[in-house]
Structures are given as C-alpha cells and as structure tokens.
C-alpha cells in the first residue's frame, strides 16, 4: 500500500482521489458493506476486551496469591495471628474489622439515606430538591483521601473528646462502648464510612421513590391516611427492592473503602469487644504494608486478602446491579 503511494505520479494521484471519492460515496455502497461488518467486529472486540480485562484481573490476583493459598489453605480466613516475622499470617482480624466498620456505616447511613430520599421526592419543592440532591451527590465526589485527612484531624479528636465519653456515659454497660478512646478506632472508621456511603443510598433511593407511580400515593391518600402513613405503608414497600439494592451497593463501597479507613482506624490487628479500640481492615492492611512487605509469602498473603476483598465486593456489587436492573427493566433497556 505504501509502496503504491510511493511510485504514484501526479496524474495517478488525482485518479486515486477520484477512486477514493467513489469508494466512500453512496454509489459504491454495495461493494463496501463488509466495512460495516468490520466496524461491528472492531467495536465488539473492544467490548469483549472488558470481559478479557476481568479475566486478567482474576488471573493475576489468583496467580500472585498462589503461594499463600497453598501454604495456609482455607484456615487463612479464621487464623487470628498476623505475625509477618514468624511467617504466621491469618485474615480473621482484618475480616472482623471490615465487617464491623461496614456494619456501623450501614446502621447509620441507611436510615439517614432513606430519610433524605423521602425529603427529596415527597417533601421538597422541585428546585430545592434538585439543589440539595446535587449537594448530597457532591459528598460522593470528594476523594477518599480528603475524608481521611478530615477524619484524622477533625473527627478523631471529636470522638475522643465528645462522642466516646457521651456513649460511655449512656451505653457504657455494653462491652461495645467500654474503655477509653484515643480518637482513632473502629467507631471513628465506621462514622467516616457512614458519611461516605450516604450519598449512594440517598441517590439510588431517591430514583427508586421517584419511580413509584403517583396513583399509588393518591389511592392511599384518598383512603384518608396521613402523608407519613402513605409513605410508610405504600411508597416504601413499593420501592423495597430498589432500596435493598441501594443498601447492597453501599455495602460494597464500605467493604472496599481504603484510604479514609486506613487513616482513622488505628491499624492494629486485634479483635476487641469495644468499638473505641483500634482495629484493622482488609483494605487498610494492604495499603499500609504492601510496599514494605518483605518475603514472597508475606506479599502473597496480602494479595490473597485483596483477592478475598475482590471476590466479596464483586458478588455484592453484582447482586446490587441485578436488583437495580430488575427495576429499570433490565440492563439498559431504554429503547
């Protein structure tokens, strides 16, 4: 092809141009429809590359954690000791920390998020609703590292001086709220996570509630119920599946969140009853120790934690996608 161009004279160049015009023009369409097929195939190849990418991610993670999987077996998940020097490594403390912080986050964020969704859909005037909706979504756009910075310098001192003493005074008889807090710990991590997942619950629930048909509300109100009774007995049950999807989506975010948690959880591999005590999560230990991990087994064990995290979040997010898709008539069925 390039050789042809190289030996072309001026006159042939013009005729080649004319031929090109004819080639791309409508008259020559029939002869060139295979270009359409080629284009489809090319786009299909790029789409398929995303599937291949997933396969590559799984392969790389499994490959890199092979050593640890072979060495520790399934006991890795419930071994509590984490001692890199003695090569005795278990994931139990990190799984515990991840589960506890995510639970705190959801316990706080789910009621708040649904409340916000109700406000936006049922109460707020349209203009105010759109402004507030934007502000809440902005919470989701703030980078994790900024939450971490704020958590470390503002929230942690606040927990030490006010939140922990108040909880101890009122609920101190529970082992969960016993002992001293030095600011960083499970509770602080759970609190910062709850702020971070709140916009996901609020935004998805808002869309779900907005999709509830107006006739449902009118039917209920016509029976003489109050506004809240309509919301509680009609609107929320109608959007139950979607709100569950929103909660699962938020759970996926909370499980995998790294930087903000790393900066406020205290990074100590231990299982303590009190939420005031420092802990550790799966993502936090990877972030903290990966670049300094020495020895293939240590690195491999950290990667296996990442693999576990990936599998769990993939399952959780997949479940959320399926639930939310079911409401919106399947994956992208707009047309």
């Amino acid at each position: 092809m390039t050789a042809d161009l190289g030996t072309m004279t001026a006159g042939e160049g013009v005729s080649a141009k004319a031929r090109n015009l004819r080639r791309w023009g409508p008259r020559a369409l029939q002869g060139w429809t295979n270009l359409d097929g080629l284009f489809r195939k090319a786009c299909g190849a790029f789409a398929a590359s995303i599937v291949a990418l997933l396969a590559l991610v799984v392969y790389q993670l499994v490959h890199a954690s092979r050593l640890s999987i072979d060495h520790f077996g399934v006991g890795f998940a419930w071994e509590k000791v984490w001692d890199p020097v003695a090569q005795k490594l278990g994931a139990a403390t990190f799984i515990y920390g991840t589960v506890v912080t995510s639970t705190i986050a959801l316990l706080i964020a789910v009621p708040l998020g649904i409340g916000i969704a109700i406000f936006l859909v049922e109460l707020a005037p349209r203009r105010l609703g759109s402004v507030v909706g934007f502000l809440v979504e902005l919470l989701a756009a703030i980078p994790s590292i900024v939450y971490g910075l704020w958590g470390l310098f503002v929230l942690a001192p606040l927990v030490r001086l006010w939140v922990a003493p108040a909880l101890r005074k009122t609920l101190g008889f529970l082992p969960l709220f016993s002992g001293e807090s030095n600011g960083v710990g499970m509770l602080t991590a759970g609190l910062i996570l709850s702020i971070m997942v709140l916009p996901f619950i609020a935004a998805v629930s808002r869309d779900v509630l907005a999709a509830v048909p107006q006739t449902q509300r009118e039917g209920s109100l016509a029976l003489g119920t109050t506004k809240w009774e309509t919301i509680w007995n009609v609107v929320l049950p109608y959007g139950r599946v979607g709100i569950t999807g929103a909660t699962i989506l938020a759970l996926g975010r909370a499980l995998g969140e790294t930087m903000a948690v790393t900066m406020v959880i205290g990074n100590s591999p231990q299982i303590m009853a009190s939420l005031f005590e420092p802990g550790y999560t799966m993502s936090a230990v990877i972030a903290n120790e990966y670049s300094e991990a020495s020895g293939p087994l240590y690195l491999s064990a950290l990667t296996e934690l990442g693999l576990l995290l990936f599998v769990v979040t993939f399952a959780v997010n997949g479940a959320a996608s399926l639930l939310i898709w079911r409401l919106t008539r399947g994956p992208g069925a707009h047309a």
């Binding site: 406000f119 049922e122 992208g332």
Partner: protein, 292 residues
Amino acid sequence: MTSAVSTAQPVRSISMRRKVVSKVMLGLCVAATCVAVAMLVWILGYVLMQGALSVNPAFFTELPAPVGEPGGGFLNALVGTGIMVGVAAAMSIPIGVLAGIYLAEFGHGWLARAVRFISDTLGATPSIVAGLFAYSLIVVRVHHFSALAGSVALALLMIPTITRTAEEMIRLVPRTLREAALALGVPEWRMTLQIVLPAASSGVITGIMLAIARVSGETAALLFTAFNNRFLSASLDEPMSSVPVQVYTYAIAPYDDWHRQAWAGALVLVTLVAMFSAGVRLATRSRYKLEQ
C-alpha cells in the same frame, strides 16, 4: 347530642395522634437531609479554610524540601498526577468509547449483557484491588515501581465509567437522525462515527471528565504501583509522585509544615472535583433543556 360528642371525641384524638406522628416522621426526614448537608458544608468548609491558609505560590512551583525543613511544594506531585491521569485517559478512552458504541448500537446479545454487568460491577471494585492488579501485572515483572503501573491501575478504574456513560449518551441520539443518514446512503460505520458520535459528544465527554475527576483523587491504586518520588520525573518507567499519595504521606508524618501542605493538596483536589461536578451538571442540564 351528648352521644354524638362522646363518639366524636376518641376519633378526633386518634387522628391527632396520627397527624403528630406524620409531622414528627417527616420532620426527621428533613433533619436527615440537614445532617447530610451540614456534613458536606463542614468538610468542604474545613478543607477550604485550612487549604486557603496553607496554599502559597511555592506550593505550585517548588519541589518538596528535605525532610524536616519547612517550605517546598507539590510541583512533582502536580506534574505526576497530570502525566499519569493523561496516560490512563489515553489508554481507557478508546476502549471505553468503542465498547460504549458497541453496547448502544449493536448490544443485544449475551456479550453485551456480560459487558454491561462486568462494567457496572468492575466500576465499583475497590481501587486498592486495581493497585494489586497493576502491581502483579507490571511491578513484579520489571522489579520496580513505575508510573506506567500507576496509569494502568487508573485506566482499569476509568474504563467502566466511560463505557457506561458513552453507551447511555449514544442511546439518547434520536433514531430519526440515524434513519436520515442511512436514507442518504451513508454506510452504518460512517453514520455511527460521523453522525451519531458527534451528536452524543458532549455527553460522552462528560463521562470522560467524570472518570478523570474520580481518578485524579485516587490514592489507594497508586500507593504501591507508582509509589512516590521526591523529584520531578517524566519517565513512565520510574516511580512517580501524585497529589493524593503525597497528601497521604504528608498527613501521617509528624511535621506541622507537612500537615499544612497536605491541606493545601486537599484543597487542590477538592477544587478540581467541584469544578468537574459543576461543569458536568451545567452540561447535562442544558442537554435536558434541549430535549424538552
């Protein structure tokens, strides 16, 4: 008369109770919204205040000072974030846009369903996992941290967002536009690239901007891929600094001057994100207006 009063009385008190419950619960919903907005104002306000007190010209023009000495800036990190996000965008935009075209135009079969599901799920994957992927794919092979590994991790995080927004925006292009082009004898591939894609371009660019905004503040994926570098570097084969990683390093160090610079870095990140978000909102709003 008396009997009428005695029956009306309990009815009225029940309805009062129901009304009060309704008011209280709706009030709690308003309160929940106030809490969320207050958190946003608190966090953004604190970052703006601390950042404004901390940011100075040296922050943008100087390299980090030696450990423990005051002064210095984030020049290396600003340049590093620009380079790595740029390389990640160059890798992810072609894949994302063409896959989006496939989903919107030809996406009816099992492959399209699989790609949609994987994009949605991969898009919510923890960024630390993207870092692990790039580490075992690149860092392990070349035996050192590199900016290229950082870019690959960021690209993995960008592709799903770009794919799904591109698909949705291309779907919004009216069918009549396609039919008009086909009626004039334009082949399908040319119609897609020269008629449909330009018509959807503002939305597609919005999606790309959102993806860029998200990865610009990304820390966990870069911690052990691009790592950090105290010097100015433009080589993809060497460790490279980025704003979020340098903010993290400075925040957990015991120097007040470094904390000050971490706040300035946070201010830069938040400004970037707020600008993108506001821009995206303006762009999509004018788009909705056009459609109505």
